[in-house]
């Protein structure tokens, strides 16, 4: 893939920038020479036509949601409504400066206020911070809240966080960053939290548990109420990772399951685009006992005016320089307004229906380690499908069939995992075509395994050598190297 550094350098003759309209004093006079740049950065300028072509070409090397099924488990790759994009670009919103006087940004504050309220109702929890910029950032916020909570209660020794072995990797990393130690809980044969094991970990150093509901196997913890009750009885708090909220949107609320902290993942559940890796939004809702600890500033309504409220002396501080990812929050707000309660229910209905339909059809061909009603996703094992065939091979071969592969090798408790989440947006036709491709791949695995090993063949590049990237790291353009 050629980069812009490989391209023709244009020295623009014309004016891209306005002409200087004030008398110039000169760099020499204004900046001490020791603080001036001595040589220009090695950055080419492309003519606009070339710029357009370069990035149009790059875009075509990508696979997006508008290109087809994107069944990345745990990622909820649903359609990103176009209207979201337009509204986030309205100049009154896009140009508003975060340091403007409150009187100039009443509309923006009002919107944030509404979003907080909607989220708090959705979560069934008392208060919300909109600051976290992604799911993992929400987790970190939650962990900071727990830490502060126990410090305030005079229980600073509560430093153990329980985590099912099916948890997403960001959970332990977040807990760790906040100074907690992580204890892994084994899952039982149903893929759920093992209550006996849980009971064995309930001591006075327990800070809490981090759960994903439904869990990363796509299974709803049947004993969820017992789990949260046990943790609460032991003086701990329950953190819920909301990555999988799509499964019960419009039907159930984490607060009613015993959650004390819950993070939303807007770029999954609430239709905001993932942008090739962000920006996202990971607002956090908390139960009453944690609400005074939330980050500042918070948005407050006084009469008909909206204000920033800094007056929370127990607050953990700030997780974001301003009020969270406003542009992303706006898109989710639009989405919720469009859907309303009925639309939200339709989401979970179709998401779960699609997942179960796929699960039922695919388990004929692939191993389904936890065979039960699933929610919005399910996890197959790609092991033993053919001689020397790995899940990676299956994934790459799916590319040849025109599909984005599922999430692979996660959760860790399933060998050669294939984690499949179709979302509510896919229609039955697409699901049937996907099943057909998977069945053909299973057949190929036995008959023509080379086709899998050498896949993808129909992608812009063939299989890439990830090991080499780590062993011989080339992380910036090698200007000086002979290419």
């Amino acid at each position: 893939m050629s980069t812009i550094f490989d391209r023709h350098v244009t020295v623009s003759d014309g004016c891209l920038l306005p002409k200087q309209d004030v008398p110039e004093q000169g760099l020499k006079k204004l900046i001490p020479s020791s603080l001036q740049r001595s040589s220009p950065p090695r950055i080419p300028q492309l003519s606009e036509p070339e710029l357009a072509r370069h990035y149009t070409r790059l875009s075509k090397l990508n696979y997006g949601i508008d290109d087809g099924l994107y069944p990345l488990g745990s990622c909820t790759m649903k359609y990103n409504p176009k209207v979201n994009e337009d509204l986030a670009r309205l100049p009154g919103f896009a140009l508003a400066h975060p340091k403007a006087e409150e009187g100039l940004v009443q509309g923006s504050l009002h919107l944030l206020y509404e979003v907080s309220h909607i989220l708090s109702r959705m979560a069934g929890l008392d208060a919300v911070t909109l600051q976290p910029a992604a799911g993992a950032h929400g987790e970190l916020t939650g962990m900071f809240l727990l830490r502060r909570y126990f410090e305030k209660r005079g229980e600073p020794q509560r430093k153990r966080i329980l985590l099912p072995d099916s948890a997403h990797g960001t959970n332990p990393a977040s807990a760790n960053t906040a100074g907690f130690s992580v204890v892994q809980l084994p899952s039982n044969e149903k893929g759920m939290v093992d209550l006996a094991a849980l009971k064995g970990e309930l001591d006075s150093n327990l800070a809490g548990i981090m759960l994903t509901v439904p869990n990363t196997l796509g299974i709803f913890e049947e004993e969820i109420l017992s789990v949260t009750e046990l943790v609460h009885e032991a003086g701990g708090l329950c953190y819920f990772d909301g990555a999988n909220l799509n499964a019960f949107l419009g039907r159930a609320r984490p607060g009613d399951m015993g959650a004390d902290v819950f993070h939303f993942n807007f770029h999954k559940t609430l239709s905001t685009p993932h942008g090739g890796g962000g920006p996202g939004a990971g607002p956090v809702a908390v139960s009453g006992k944690l609400s005074d600890l939330l980050p500042v500033p918070r948005i407050k309504k006084e009469g008909e005016k909206y204000r920033l409220d800094w007056d929370f002396p127990d607050s953990i501080g700030s997780m974001h320089p301003f009020y969270g990812n406003f542009g992303v929050l706006l898109k989710a707000y639009v989405y919720v307004l469009l859907l309303g309660d009925a639309g939200l229910r339709a989401v979970s209905e179709n998401a779960v229906l699609n997942a179960n339909y796929l699960q039922t059809r695919l388990k004929e061909t692939f191993t389904l380690p936890y065979d039960r009603l699933c929610k919005h996703e399910f996890v197959l094992s790609g092991a033993e499908i053919g001689p020397g065939i790995k899940t990676l091979d299956i994934a790459k071969r799916l590319i040849d069939y025109g599909f984005h592969p599922p999430t692979i090798y996660f959760p860790l408790i399933v060998q050669e995992a294939l984690m499949i989440e179709p979302t509510e947006c896919e229609g039955r036709d697409t699901l049937d075509r996907f099943v057909e491709a998977m069945e053909r791949i299973a057949a190929e695995a036995g008959e023509t395994p080379e086709q899998l090993h050498t896949a993808p063949q129909r992608a812009p590049v063939h299989r890439l050598d990830e090991t080499r990237a780590a062993r011989q790291p080339v992380l910036t353009y090698p200007f000086d190297a002979e290419r």
């Binding site: 623009s12 920038l17 900046i31 740049r37 950065p41 090695r42 300028q45 710029l51 990035y55 090397l61 990508n62 696979y63 997006g64 509204l87 986030a88 100049p91 896009a94 140009l95 400066h97 975060p98 006087e101 100039l104 940004v105 923006s108 069934g124 992604a134 799911g135 993992a136 830490r147 990797g169 960053t177 049947e222 019960f248 039907r251 009613d256 399951m257 685009p273 993932h274 942008g275 920006p279 501080g317 700030s318 974001h320 320089p321 990812n325 406003f326 542009g327 639009v334 307004l337 309660d341 009925a342 639309g343 229906l353 059809r361 009603l373 994934a395 590049v461 299989r463 910036t476 353009y477």
Partner: protein, 439 residues
């Protein structure tokens, strides 16, 4: 619901295939008490037309931002964004894609990440850079955490002249991570007081230009084992020396000036650059060049082993989703200017800011708060209550930052002005005229 593709008939047939006779059967595993407690939002479904109207009504509750003349800054600046940036990042292949877990069908994102990393290194003078973090403030916090992991002193120092938005986040992270934060005062020139730097620190964090707009000179610093972290304004690096050449060990900053709208403070773009030797300690995604089976060049996310998926609790950081699309915007923005354009842009900002400063200082009682070099933002000592000035200016459509921000940093009776290439001489002159009329 217009985003659902299954028809009613599809649903019936699929349910039948599952041996279920109602949708409720799909949710039989959710304990009844939970379902019984459920309450909805009490929102009815709405058409796009209605929601667009609703959002435009909200927008109208804001001031008419297109008619404002902004001198707001302090990290978020009012630069012109070429139209092409939004057009290109609006290609759905870019903005709807997930993190590039499957590199063979994500070469667009990965190549652009690689370009971004290269550009950040060129601008900052560092060897490596990541593909983005949430924003400049958390990037600084991540830098401090990395420094603590490397140096391990349990404390760090920070210049008092750091913008408060960054400082709040830094304090929050350090508090939770158990890192003590020591503040280093500024001199009468508004620069770091070199004599007041504590010993035994994992890092010193400074910002340049700082919260007063003043350019720091870190060349004389000696931190022992401690790392120098510099928060930089990327636009200034078109003409200012790359911090890497001035001794920085980590350069972080807010990338919003590189083609992102202010958007009421988010989404933003954190950048993070450092020495090659700390490659495996850097938080966030990194794109690396490799080859495919046929030896053809391509890109992958390198060093995923640093990340949570693999090493879990020993992960370098918990960053997963970051700010990829903003980084793409910045990449396109930078490429639209090139090195020359970046220099020209920086000079436009510099000269206009100095013109305005000079003009303001010609008013009786107004003077620069600090005799030190500045870029596109400067602090003025004012002869009238600055809050009153701010109010009067607002009436005329001129926006400046709350003087309270400067007061909190120990600067009374002062106002800060940021000037970008968008400000015309006419606007600058009329600001001065307006100022002159405030008694």
């Amino acid at each position: 619901m217009q985003y659902v593709t299954n028809t009613k008939k599809d649903r019936e047939q699929m349910l039948a295939a599952l041996g279920l006779n109602s949708i409720e059967g799909l949710f039989s595993d959710i304990p009844r008490p939970i379902k019984e407690k459920f309450q909805g939002l009490e929102l009815s479904e709405k058409s796009e037309l209605e929601v667009v109207s609703a959002l435009k009504r909200l927008e109208a509750q804001n001031a008419n931002w297109e008619n404002m003349t902004s001198f707001l800054g302090g990290g978020i600046y009012d630069h012109y964004i070429p139209s092409i940036v939004s057009h290109l990042i609006s290609r759905s292949e870019f903005y709807t894609a997930y993190t590039p877990y499957q590199p063979e069908i994500s070469q667009g994102t990965l190549t652009a990440m690689f370009e971004f990393q290269t550009m950040i290194c060129e601008l900052t003078g560092m060897e490596i850079a990541n593909a983005s973090l949430y924003d400049g403030a958390t990037a600084l916090a991540e830098a401090v955490i990395m420094a603590e992991r490397i140096v391990g002193m349990g404390r760090m120092a920070v210049a008092r002249s750091l913008v408060p938005d960054f400082r709040r986040v830094l304090d929050t992270y350090c508090g939770a991570a158990g890192i003590d934060v020591v503040e280093v005062p500024y001199t009468g020139r508004g620069q770091l007081d070199l004599r007041a730097i504590p010993a035994d620190i994992s890092a010193l964090a400074i910002q340049s230009p700082n919260a007063f707009g003043v350019i720091e000179d870190p060349t004389q610093l000696d931190l022992g084992d401690g790392l120098l972290i510099v928060v930089a304004n990327p636009i200034s690096l078109g003409i200012l020396a790359p911090p890497g050449e001035l001794g920085a060990d980590v350069v972080v900053g807010e990338g919003q000036p590189l083609g992102l709208p202010a958007s009421f403070g988010g989404p933003l773009l954190g950048f993070f650059a450092t020495h090659r030797r700390w490659l495996r300690k850097v938080p966030g995604r990194i794109s690396g060049r490799t080859v495919d089976r046929d030896g053809k060049e391509g890109y992958v996310m390198a060093f995923q082993t640093r990340e949570q998926h693999i090493r879990r609790e020993r992960a370098t950081s918990n960053i997963c989703t970051n700010s990829a699309l903003c980084a793409l915007a910045a990449t396109i923005y930078i490429a639209s200017l090139g090195a020359e354009g970046l220099g020209e842009l920086a000079r436009l900002n510099l000269e206009k800011a100095h013109y305005l400063a000079d003009r303001i200082c010609s008013l009786p009682g107004y003077k620069l708060a600090f005799q030190a070099p500045f870029f596109n933002e400067f602090t003025i000592h004012v002869p009238v209550d600055p809050h009153r000035i701010r109010d009067s200016l607002k009436q005329a459509g001129f926006l400046v930052t709350d003087p309270g921000e400067l007061e909190a940093l120990g600067m009374q009776e002062a106002l800060r002005f940021a000037v970008t290439e968008k400000r015309t001489r006419e606007q600058l002159d009329s600001l001065v005229e307006k100022l002159g009329g405030i008694k």
